[in-house]
Symmetry: C2
Amino acid sequence: MWNGIIEKYKDFYDIKDGEAVVTLNEGNTPLIPAENISNILGDIKLYLKYEGLNTTGSFKDRGMTMAVSKAVEAGSRAIICASTGNTSAAAAAYAAKAGIKCFVLIPNNKIALGKLAQAILYGAEIIPVDGNFDDALRIVREIAEEGKVTLVNSVNPYRLLGQRSGAYEVCDQLEGKVDYLSIPVGNAGNISAYWAGFKDYYAAKKIDKLPVMLGFQAEGAAPIVENRVFDEPETIATAIRIGNPASWDKAVAARDESKGLIDKVTDDEILQAQKLLASKEGVFVEPASAASLAGVIKLSKKGYFEKDKNVVCVLTGNGLKDPSVVSPEKELKVYSVKIEDIKAIIDKTLGSDQDG
Amino acid sequence: MWNGIIEKYKDFYDIKDGEAVVTLNEGNTPLIPAENISNILGDIKLYLKYEGLNTTGSFKDRGMTMAVSKAVEAGSRAIICASTGNTSAAAAAYAAKAGIKCFVLIPNNKIALGKLAQAILYGAEIIPVDGNFDDALRIVREIAEEGKVTLVNSVNPYRLLGQRSGAYEVCDQLEGKVDYLSIPVGNAGNISAYWAGFKDYYAAKKIDKLPVMLGFQAEGAAPIVENRVFDEPETIATAIRIGNPASWDKAVAARDESKGLIDKVTDDEILQAQKLLASKEGVFVEPASAASLAGVIKLSKKGYFEKDKNVVCVLTGNGLKDPSVVSPEKELKVYSVKIEDIKAIIDKTLGSDQDG
């Protein structure tokens, strides 16, 4: 029975017998072979690490199990974070499981409905502040310094330790044969954590080569790509709409040490990739997640990849977090319950080569 | 590497070498020990089989991998279903993966936004009909009889075969020690499939006792409980708002053979159970899923359970499918970015026993 990442990867996590472990059985997410998109691209073997199937719907659960376990072990009665969505959901859920309080500071604009609904139902105290994400992050850091409440944003070092498990799993699932790892870059913690995880596995001789790291930011929130802070980051991909990433230096190091790259993709490319994932592979992700595939498509068109290499796209969050981008409100014609009407639609759609 | 339920449980599925297998790596969902709710109830050991972590967000994926694989093997170019939501999402996703068309007939009322968004993005043709679920089901059955398109509603026998894997997994995860299995009942396919799955495992000597089956319908859609068709079924739990279940007889047999029961719970009990799952266990489910826990709570209060037995609640779908019930639109006060304001909120929430 799978009991979460801390138990599974205990050789890599310094948790002693009797220490608190707060888990929602996170991790163990599928690695889905994307045969249809691979055929379209023609050069690579694409795999989708579908992190939307963690318990709260995003990769954040991997870090939160570590951060909240350590907070409980240290005697904390509350955790706090600034969040545009996924972090708040994960923090609130793990606090609920642990029986401690959770405070979530949110920027007062453009929060995806599904994400806020989660934190509220999990029982967190939501505090909207009149500012952007970076303002909220500054406040929670200052408050946490007093020691009353534990900060669980990704500057909490346990978060990134937990997130390394994503890399361990990908290596286990592909038996070490990961050639490229493509990942969305927002606050830049996840690309840093994956790279550290791959290095852990390499040092432990569980893999005999390290993958090339490919990070992708949204064009309107591309501080690392353009090497400047974005004061007003803007993108439809809310989970990576961050102008001044906390793990900036680590992400640059991951890029350089792996001989990879961090590039940007447009909102349009992101939405195209999101649609391709759903309509060709049956996988529904939130827009930010699709940045990893959008980037791979961009590189594939340029002839970047060697033939037949294994490319893993990390799909960070579930599409159900943010269904608003799909616009299902469009007018659908309502048909009477006459069979003939329905048959006519089917025949028209399947085309004239269908003979009774 | 987990490659879906057909590969994992090939001893139980009659798929020959070379036959088509259309999979989204469904199954392998966590069984989460619900220590907090167990402590509140005081009598049982509660486990949550969180089926919301299947690839399209519900248990329907287990049956759809079988149904679509067999449709493709038979040369079908399209599948069709009537659906209030979860079935349409699963059908559309597996059709996308298989590269065939999917037609979804929906009743023209009260469809959860998240569910329809999925089917649309996966590329299905959505056909709203002027009638209820039972009208839609009657039409698709009639159309499928002509043989052009394959019906993938639960009357498709492969659906229930696939869904048996939920029972196999629960047995594997609890090493056979499942005393009670609690499950929401709508179209009644899933309770029938679980019971058949347990009997498969018993016949194969993988378990040495069968669990007691506990099914729960919503009060406003309780045809099996009241032994009458509901012409106008009504409940907030849209996924089980069904007045004339397709697998009625099988569900009654599962109940009677296992010496279990099928009872009803109110919408209020369902919403209370949904909130308890989120706020005590960090697990967010759609309302229909919470019917299984609502029923267990009802029975626990009556002293139904023997002490310390393992009770598994099947949580059929992800809460993100239907976040509207959470009402996060309530007015949240926006705070200025002054640290003092935020500290005051935290101190007030944590109470006076927190001494700086």
